[in-house]
């Protein structure tokens, strides 16, 4: 165990070897890039119910957002707080109905390597494809908990991006929770806590599908949502974090739909 420098957290070893490997990787463009894990795009179940739900649920999300927009502008905290369980329920429905049952080989949620890696819900799950439904519910609930556990980190990230530090905590935190439930929850459902799969997703290596498309769309949308805030138009809807939430919902729905249809299976 090499000594770790407290400030830079770097080991005292010279990083020659790693640099060389990187240089080589950059030099020969064909060299495989670590991590070697490849993910297969998530395929939505082919049952009629699933196919209906995959289109109906985003529409429902959009309608919900549109309907609550006035309330959101008027009182962001209470609107976000009341909407959160509803959105979570919609997402759970989506996961259970549309996303491939965790562990099933159909569609290959986690890709080729998931057979070796246990995921949340796997312990209580018999490894058979037909018994998907109850497992899926349990998995989705567990994924929901994981998403909510991650939201403090999203909250911290929002602070770093310039969100109010000491004021508006409830606003920011609820916004982070919405981001987690929308964009992260389906990925937790599909990948569980498989670190290497998350590393691929995090480094934009995953192929586009409804889950990854939703994440990308949601994050980019929320990022773009910050754009109108400084404008001096003095509109009610410029209030924190209404625009972020707008961008998040718009981006998420767009990313999920486009990722599942037009650009499905493509990767960066």
């Amino acid at each position: 165990m090499p000594l770790v420098e407290p400030i830079t957290m770097s080991t005292t070893l010279a990083k020659g070897a790693a640099a060389q490997a990187q240089a080589q990787a950059a030099f020969s463009k064909t060299a495989p890039v670590f991590p070697a894990t490849t993910l297969r795009p998530v395929q939505i179940r082919s049952t009629p119910l699933a196919q209906t739900a995959r289109h109906a649920l985003p529409a429902l999300l959009a309608v919900l957002f549109g309907a609550r927009f006035r309330a959101l502008v008027a009182d962001p905290v209470s609107a976000m707080a009341t909407a959160l369980p509803l959105v979570a329920a919609l997402q759970v429905t989506y996961a259970v109905l549309c996303l491939p049952a965790p562990g099933s080989t159909q569609g290959g949620g986690g890709g080729a390597r998931k057979a070796q890696k246990p995921r949340p819900g796997e312990s209580i799950k018999r490894r058979s494809a037909d018994a998907g439904a109850p497992n899926a519910v349990a998995t989705s609930l567990l994924s929901l908990v994981l998403s909510l556990l991650v939201s403090p980190f999203l909250y911290a990230a929002m602070i770093l991006f310039g969100a109010p530090f000491l004021t508006h905590s409830a606003h920011t935190f609820l916004c982070a929770a919405h981001l987690a439930v929308l964009a992260l929850f389906p990925l937790f459902f599909v990948h569980g806590v498989d670190g290497s799969a998350w590393a691929v997703v995090g480094s934009f290596g995953a192929p586009l599908d409804e889950t990854f498309g939703g994440l990308l769309g949601g994050v980019v949308g929320a990022w773009l949502g910050a754009v109108p805030i400084p404008l001096d138009w003095d509109r009610e809807w410029q209030r924190w974090p209404v625009t972020i939430l707008c961008g998040l919902y718009g981006g998420y729905i767009l990313g999920r739909v486009v990722g599942g249809t037009l650009v499905w299976g493509k990767s960066f």
Partner: protein
């Protein structure tokens, strides 16, 4: 600030790093060979009896070997010197290219500026007593000598004694300008602010003796700088934004003005105080009584005021020696600049002024009028220059024991409680004073008489008022027709136009006896008002041709720069030892490397010759065409020369297969750099995005940290991956921490709380902030050490310099700020006056000497931060093993010393809060270097662009805003007592550019110069694009309400920053890699 460059003749003296290493390596090798030979000899002597022979043989072997080696050394030295010459010539061409680019930027900015900064035609005409603009009197219908005037003829009409254009009221005038006397300083306000209720005399007299005194708000026309204000106050016209011709060289006013009229009338003028008057009116003042004082030293609160007070009372005794006495006190303004308004010093200053004016008023007689006024106000920090309400609202008070002042309405008896009610324009003083003193109104005047001065003690002399108003209006009309003729513009005469208003006013004057004076007065006042509005619009007249040329030069310059930086680089970035060896052995065999091996030599060289070739016809063409056309704008040659020169360079680059399409990035990181730069540039079209620029930059910084943390997940080595994530998080986190240092601009209110100073109405630091520089001096060197140690680069000079010298410098800078605070706050009452000030100045000078003089010397002579360690090899204990510590970052670690020296100087020159921000910035730069290195992004444009974003971000975090009044003037007072404005964070960022290339690049890194020049290119391109964008937007939005508040200042900041970055790039960054090994 720029390090004295190592002169070329010395270039050989400090051994370049690689040579030091090579020499040490060779020495170690020789030592090893000797040891080997010894071992051989020992081994043989024990067994054989011809040991001596063997020893002799071994010895001769060694001699031969040594001779061979010396011969090789010599060849090597020859080769190296050849290489160095080659390198230096390439360096010179590269520097020439950058100098050319600097010229292009300077020409573009100068052109745009000359068209953008408003111009006003100065008319030569002067008013003369004998030629009044309108008929004077006797009054209409009065019979014999009725000549169409409104007043009955008065004795001495048309002469200086009786009054040229209006009956004269006073023989003498005493004008006291209290610089930056804001209106609310002079009226009672119910609060405990230090600047309120300390100067009650003006209000008291105006209330107690309304016939003897009145007080009114006095609105300045921006720009609210003293020089421009004095022009307005004496000529009665609107000075344009920056009068290029006047503020740079000769400042003397040659337009018709009050003082010129006084002088021509044979009146004697005495001046005391601010020497700006002497510059504006040279030779106007009576030498024996006048005293001018230096206005430049903003930290000196008392010299000017004491001088004025000391000399004004004796002058009052000799009142036959002068007719006009001008006193200009600067203490209030300087107190504002130094401490901000809310400071006990400000209270003291205002009380002193109160007493002074009280005493002065006592010396007045019936023939003298006393005028006290502020030339502008001050903002909440005590600064001025812009056009915010606090800056334009000054106070005007007139006093005379004669008791002729009146109010036309009873409710006007009390002076207005705020400056929003019944304000007068500053130019109104001109006709008022001229008519009170009986001299002609200056020709260019646009103001109107002030009501109180002509309304009569009873407030009902409407005839007098109407006559005064009409005379002033007629003067304006006369000026207007001359101006329009001179410019060749038609005057409009539609409804609502000044012409129509004038005719309507004239038609009100009835031929009969009974006049409706009040209506006539209002009609002429309406004419004056409308006319003033038109002039304000008219003088917002931009020279679109020059602006277009400036924008074109800048735009083409940006394209040329983009093409230049888009040339391929990835091929020279790898250190390939084999290639190097093969090349060296080829050279040893005498094979000349063919010309194509040094492509950039020919590139920069070609570009420069193309630039010169292109510039010549353009310059000649421009000069000749202007000569032929006789327009006299021969300087247009430089603009056309710049255009043709860039054109030639572009063609030349195109010939070298540098197609335009190359400028588009090929990676996601490249696109990120483009998005950051372009989106911000587009944002400058909006006042909101310009106002909130600091938050937007934080957003970008965090975005970069966020994306780089995600991208780090791809790094194969686990340790490196976590390291990269860690540095990304640190990078973003430090940006957020730095964002707590804020100096809000007015437009950010109320969503922003300033933390840069102790409170929102002062410019001194809070005591707790004094701790920050000490923390920086304790923590920052340790952080630097931590960043150097992983590559074992904390060797050589580094421990001594960073651990002791740099730390001492930072500590002394912290000490300086404590001394300064002690001096300002008078913490040690017993000390003689200047003791602390002197000590603190010496401390500051020592820090600067340490950082800049000693630091640069140390940098030039510093060996690389490596150590050669010879130890026993573990496998073969008798063999020596040589290890070079710090090899992996030999150059980066050494070059780091140069920005560090600048950092120490910059930290001294920033307020304590700024020192913290700069320390954070240094840490962020190091984190950025690690991120780029770990993600293999050293050649990506994102590196320089992030550095530029960091520099701009910290520009805002060190207490600046893109507003004229937030310029940190006193930064320059620290060491030298002269004004200089350090753009610390940007200088630091520019100096750190080579680090992007050199950090963790081993000594064998090739193409350093090209890579540094390219990184600098990207860095400068960011600022060039910003400057182009702000320029284009300022030009496009030239009629926008916020032009002078938001867009104009942002353009000026961007332009200056671009030039600063260009110069620092050449002087520091390129100079820092002069004499680099190749």
């Amino acid at each position: 600030m720029p390090p004295p460059k190592p002169p070329p003749k010395n270039a050989a003296a400090p051994l370049p790093d690689y040579k030091t290493i090579a020499a040490q390596w060779a020495a170690a090798k020789r030592a090893k060979e000797v040891a080997d030979a010894d071992r051989l000899r020992k081994g043989s002597s024990s067994t054989s009896d011809d040991a001596t022979a063997a020893a002799a043989a071994a010895k001769s072997d060694i001699t031969q070997e040594q001779e061979r080696m010396t011969a090789r050394e010599r060849t090597r030295a020859r080769l190296e010197s050849g290489r160095r010459r080659g390198y230096q010539s390439r360096w010179a061409w590269t520097a020439a290219f950058w100098a050319w680019l600097l010229c292009v930027h300077a020409v573009g900015i100068a052109y745009f500026t000359s068209g953008f900064l408003l111009t006003r035609l100065v008319l030569e005409e002067k008013s003369v007593c004998a030629a009044p603009p309108a008929a004077l009197g006797g009054a209409v219908g009065e019979g014999v000598d009725g000549d169409g005037g409104l007043l009955p003829a008065w004795p001495g009409k048309g002469t200086m004694e009786g009054g040229c254009w209006h009956p004269r009221t006073f023989d003498r005038a005493v004008v006291v300008v209290i610089d930056a006397l804001r209106y609310d300083f002079a009226v009672p306000v119910e609060d405990d602010e230090a600047f309120h209720n300390a100067f009650p005399f003006l209000w008291e007299t105006a209330v107690r003796e309304p016939n003897r005194a009145f007080l009114r708000p006095f609105i300045a026309d921006p720009p609210t700088t003293t020089l421009q204000r004095l022009k307005g106050l004496t000529t009665g016209t609107l000075p344009t934004f920056v009068d290029l011709g006047s503020s740079f060289s000769g400042t003397a006013i040659d337009e018709d003005n009050l003082l010129m009229q006084f002088k021509d009338a044979g009146k004697k003028i005495v001046h005391l105080g601010d020497d700006t008057w002497e510059a504006l009116f040279p030779g106007y003042f009576e030498g024996n009584l006048s005293r001018a004082y230096d206005s430049f030293n903003v930290w000196d609160l008392h010299t000017v005021d004491n001088g004025v007070i000391e000399h004004i009372f004796p002058a009052m005794e000799k009142r036959n020696d002068w007719d006009v006495l001008i006193g200009h006190c600067l203490g209030v303004d300087h107190a504002g600049h130094r401490y901000g308004p809310n400071h006990p010093e400000m209270t003291k200053k205002l009380r002193q002024m109160d007493g002074f004016i009280r005493d002065l008023a006592d010396t007045m007689d019936d023939k003298t009028v006393l005028i006290v006024m502020g030339d502008h106000g001050m903002d909440s920090k005590g600064d001025h220059g812009g056009e915010s309400e606090d800056e334009v609202e000054a106070a005007l008070w007139m006093y005379s024991p004669k008791g002729i002042f009146g109010r036309t309405k009873p409710e006007y008896a009390t002076p207005p409680a705020t400056a929003k009610t019944r304000p007068v324009n500053q130019i109104d003083l001109v006709p008022t004073l001229a008519m009170l003193m009986g001299i002609p109104i200056p020709f260019n005047n646009l103001g109107r008489p002030i009501e109180e001065a002509f309304a009569g003690a009873a407030g009902n002399s409407w005839a007098n008022l109407a006559a005064a108003e009409r005379t002033a209006a007629a003067g304006i009309k006369r000026y207007q027709s001359s101006y329009f003729t001179a410019r060749g513009i038609e005057q409009t005469s539609g409804p609502g136009s000044p012409n129509e208003l004038w005719n309507r006013a004239e038609s009100l004057i009835s031929k009969g006896k009974k006049q409706d004076w009040e209506a006539i007065f209002s009609a002429f006042a309406a004419y004056q008002e409308e006319n003033l509005q038109i002039c304000k619009g008219l003088w917002a007249r931009f020279d679109l041709k020059n602006m277009a040329i400036g924008i074109a030069v800048m735009a083409l310059g940006v394209i040329a720069l983009l093409v230049y930086i888009s040339k391929g680089v990835d091929d020279d970035a790898i250190d390939d030892e084999e290639l190097d060896l093969a090349e060296k052995s080829l050279e040893l065999q005498g094979v000349k490397p063919d010309a194509s091996e040094t492509p950039s030599d020919s590139l920069e060289r070609r570009l420069i010759s193309a630039a010169l070739l292109g510039a010549t016809p353009g310059f000649l063409g421009g000069v000749i065409s202007s000569f032929v056309s006789g327009a006299g704008d021969w300087y247009r040659g430089s603009g056309i020369a710049a255009l043709t020169s860039i054109g030639a360079v572009l063609v030349s680059m195109y010939e070298l297969q540098e197609t335009i399409t190359n400028i588009f990035p090929r990676t996601a990181w490249g696109w990120m750099a483009v998005v950051f730069t372009v989106s911000q540039s587009i944002g400058f079209a909006s006042n909101s995005y310009t106002i909130w620029e600091d938050s937007i930059l934080l957003f970008f910084i965090t975005t970069f940290g966020f994306v780089s943390a995600l991208s780090a997940l791809k790094i194969p080595s686990k340790a490196d991956r976590y390291l990269a994530i860690y540095h990304s998080v640190v990078f973003a986190l430090l940006g957020r921490v730095a964002s707590f240092s804020k100096l809000c601009r007015e437009e950010q209110m109320p969503y922003c709380t300033s933390t840069y100073y102790a409170s929102s109405t002062t410019s001194t630091s809070a005591p707790w902030q004094l701790i920050i520089p000490f923390l920086v001096s304790v923590i920052l060197p340790s952080i630097l050490k931590a960043y150097l140690q992983p590559t074992r680069s904390y060797e050589g000079l580094a421990p001594a310099w960073i651990g002791y010298v740099f730390r001492t410098g930072l500590f002394m800078a912290a000490l300086y700020w404590v001394l300064d605070a002690a001096d300002n706050g008078n913490w040690i009452p017993g000390l003689p006056d200047k003791t602390l000030k002197n000590i603190s100045v010496y401390t500051a000078q020592m820090v600067l000497g340490l950082a800049l003089v000693a630091g640069t010397t140390a940098f030039v002579w510093a060996p690389p931060c490596v150590s050669i360690v010879t130890s026993a090899s573990p496998s073969e204990p008798t063999r020596a093993q040589v290890a070079i510590l710090g090899y992996a970052n030999a150059h980066g670690a050494r070059y780091l010393l140069l920005p560090l020296n600048l950092l120490a100087a910059c930290i001294l020159l920033s307020k304590p809060m700024g020192a913290g921000a700069l320390g954070l910035m240094a840490w962020q730069i190091l984190a950025l270097l690690e991120i780029l290195d770990l993600n293999n992004l050293t050649t990506s444009p994102i590196g320089p662009v992030m550095l530029a974003v960091l520099g701009t971000f910290h520009f805002f975090k060190t207490g600046h805003q893109a507003v004229l009044s937030t310029i940190q003037w006193d930064a320059a007072f620290i060491p030298l007592f002269t004004i200089r404005y350090p753009w610390s964070p940007l200088i630091l960022a520019a100096a750190a550019v080579p680090l992007l290339v050199l950090w963790k690049a081993g000594p064998r890194r090739r193409g350093v110069l090209e890579a540094v020049s390219r990184a600098l290119g990207v860095f400068v391109a960011y600022f060039a694009v910003e400057s182009l964008a702000t320029m284009a937007w300022a030009g496009h939005l030239r009629r926008h309400l916020m032009l002078y508040r938001v867009f104009g200042p942002r353009f000026m900041v961007a332009a200056v920053v671009l030039l600063v970055v260009d110069v620092v790039g050449i002087v520091v960054s390129l100079m820092g890699v002069f004499g680099w090994p190749e």
